[in-house]
Amino acid sequence: MSLEDLYRQVILDHYRSPRNQGHIDGCDAHGEGQNPLCGDEISLDLAINDDTITGVAITGQGCSISQASASMMSEAIKGKTLGEVTDLIHRFRRMMDVEQGDDGLDPARPGSVLGDLEALQGVRKFPVRIKCASLPWTTLEQALETR
């Protein structure tokens, strides 16, 4: 497994120029996550109208994998319904190999339906970094559960 597979250009691009940075005043859901092992931190604000995520704002600090994953996630969930987002969370987990399922996804490329996010598939060959990539997603789940 080469480092170039882990550090794809699209990941480095999101790390250097993270999308949807900031806060949402009076947000409808909020989550905070940290990875105490390495100090990665994510703070997530969501605006939700009816059943749709209409706004996403993120702040955080940490490694390229956690911050790029957060940035890509913010793009992926914007405009999606909560049902679609739940589905996305499961697919991301499947791609990270932390969840099994018989949803007909290509076992070699379970990330193929995830667009840009598929670039993170290389992370699963680096077990200690899976937590970094997953942090924004567990934060998202927590935000939705506690809203």
Partner: protein, 408 residues
């Protein structure tokens, strides 16, 4: 390098391993060191031919294991310049520090008493004191450090006045700083405080004579000094050991057990409840014999030469910031740094791809990480088996990381 220890590398089987098809470059001894065959063989031999529970059996194997355990205690005592009855074996430095915090602190501290720590402490010398402070109503005070990462002795002098406990590191596991512990111990003792030294990084790397340090208790681990995991040492001044209650009760730490109460075995056995890690103690003694055969002065000089070299070479890398004293004086072989544009975890992953093992994170010292304003740093640390070529590999790996991340 004046000190060439490269011949020792053959004693460490793990150094011949390939990591991602590259020869291993091990730069994380401050977390845990690798083991020479001499240590592995000593433990293997005990398990294979002389193993029986210590003190309990009137049979040959038990007697042989008991003798090996007590002989290990004597080796440890010699290594730090004390007598065997002042050496209590523990599970590691963490359990040694907890046994002082609980065994002494719970019985002598009260409302409003002050425990002085430093901002350089590892969590092992912070959290137990926080817990004891919560039980007793004592308060914590932290000694700051100066802009050049040395202990702020003026501030310390003010803080120790009236303090009941002073618990300080012998060497920072993040900054590499070696504070003047003897001077600090003298200042603290003058005000009547109990002086506890976390020597987990100090004893493996620098010659230590406990009498010269002048502390009341000193703790260290075996696994950071070529020995096995699961073994540590609590050294104590005898009158302080007498003031301390056992932190754990159980077998072998009693002289008599009645239905309602018990009396304790002699010191140090009263602080060693249950079957002790005696095979690990024998491994630690083998590690100390190994270090003695090199000579601790030589070990320290070797660390210092590698540190000087690494500090010079790392300074050549643009955007690299070192957190710690700028030269190797009173400084151990631990260098923490950050690089602009590349997070420490990414540095560690990229270096691992080159076969280079370093640590990234807060190094179990979050108060320190907050103080220096770097929630995570990359850390390299040296020991007897490291060679200048390891520093070359590190520098080349860091250049590769900059290229991969396109940092200019």
């Amino acid at each position: 390098m004046k000190t060439d220890l490269s011949h020792l590398r053959a004693d460490f089987p793990i150094l011949s391993r390939l990591i991602h098809d590259r020869p291993l470059v091990f730069l994380d001894s401050a977390a845990s060191s690798q083991k020479p065959v001499q240590v592995l063989d000593a433990m293997d031999d005990l398990y294979r031919s002389r193993y029986g529970n210590v003190y309990r059996g009137a049979y040959t194997l038990s007697e042989e294991s008991t003798m090996a355990y007590e002989s290990a205690r004597s080796t440890v005592a010699r290594f730090i310049g004390t007598s065997p009855n002042q050496v209590a074996f523990t599970r590691g430095a963490t359990s040694a520090l907890n046994s002082v915090a609980y065994g002494w602190g719970l019985n002598h501290l009260g409302q409003g008493d002050t425990i002085v720590l430093t901002l350089m402490e590892h969590h092992a010398n912070v959290v137990p004191w926080q817990m004891v402070a919560r039980y007793t109503g004592a308060r914590l005070a932290y000694t700051p450090f100066t802009a050049d990462y040395r202990m702020d002795l003026d501030a310390f002098e003010g803080l120790v006045d009236g303090a009941r406990v002073v618990a300080i590191t012998g060497m920072s596991n993040v900054l590499g700083t070696i504070p003047p512990v003897a001077e600090m111990a003298a200042m603290a003792s003058a005000s009547g405080a109990l002086v506890v030294v976390d020597a987990a990084q100090l004893v493996p790397h620098v010659p230590v004579d406990v009498d010269r340090i002048g502390a009341d208790f000193l703790a260290f681990s075996g696994h950071k000094m070529l020995g096995p995991t699961g073994i540590g040492v609590l050294w104590g001044r005898m009158e302080r050991f007498e003031e301390m209650e056992p932190y754990e009760g159980g077998g072998e730490m009693i002289s008599d057990v009645q239905l309602e109460s018990s009396t304790w075995a002699s010191i140090p056995h009263r602080f060693e409840a249950g079957t002790p890690p005696f095979v690990e103690a024998v491994g630690l003694a083998a590690a100390m014999d190994y270090l003695d055969s090199i000579g601790m002065q030589t070990v320290a000089a070797h660390d210092q030469e590698l540190t000087t070299l690494a500090l010079e070479r790392l300074a050549e890398i643009p955007g690299l910031t070192i957190y710690g004293p700028g030269n190797a004086t009173d400084r151990g072989g631990v260098i923490s740094f950050t690089m602009e544009g590349i997070h420490p975890h990414d540095i560690a992953t990229i270096l691992d791809g080159e076969g280079i093992a370093i640590r990234a994170g807060h190094h179990c010292a979050r108060p320190l990480a907050r103080t220096i304003g770097a929630p995570a740093t990359a850390r390299v640390s040296f020991y007897v088996y490291n060679v200048p070529a390891d520093v070359d590999a590190l520098v080349a790996g860091l250049h590769k990381a900059r290229k991969l991340f396109d940092v200019t």
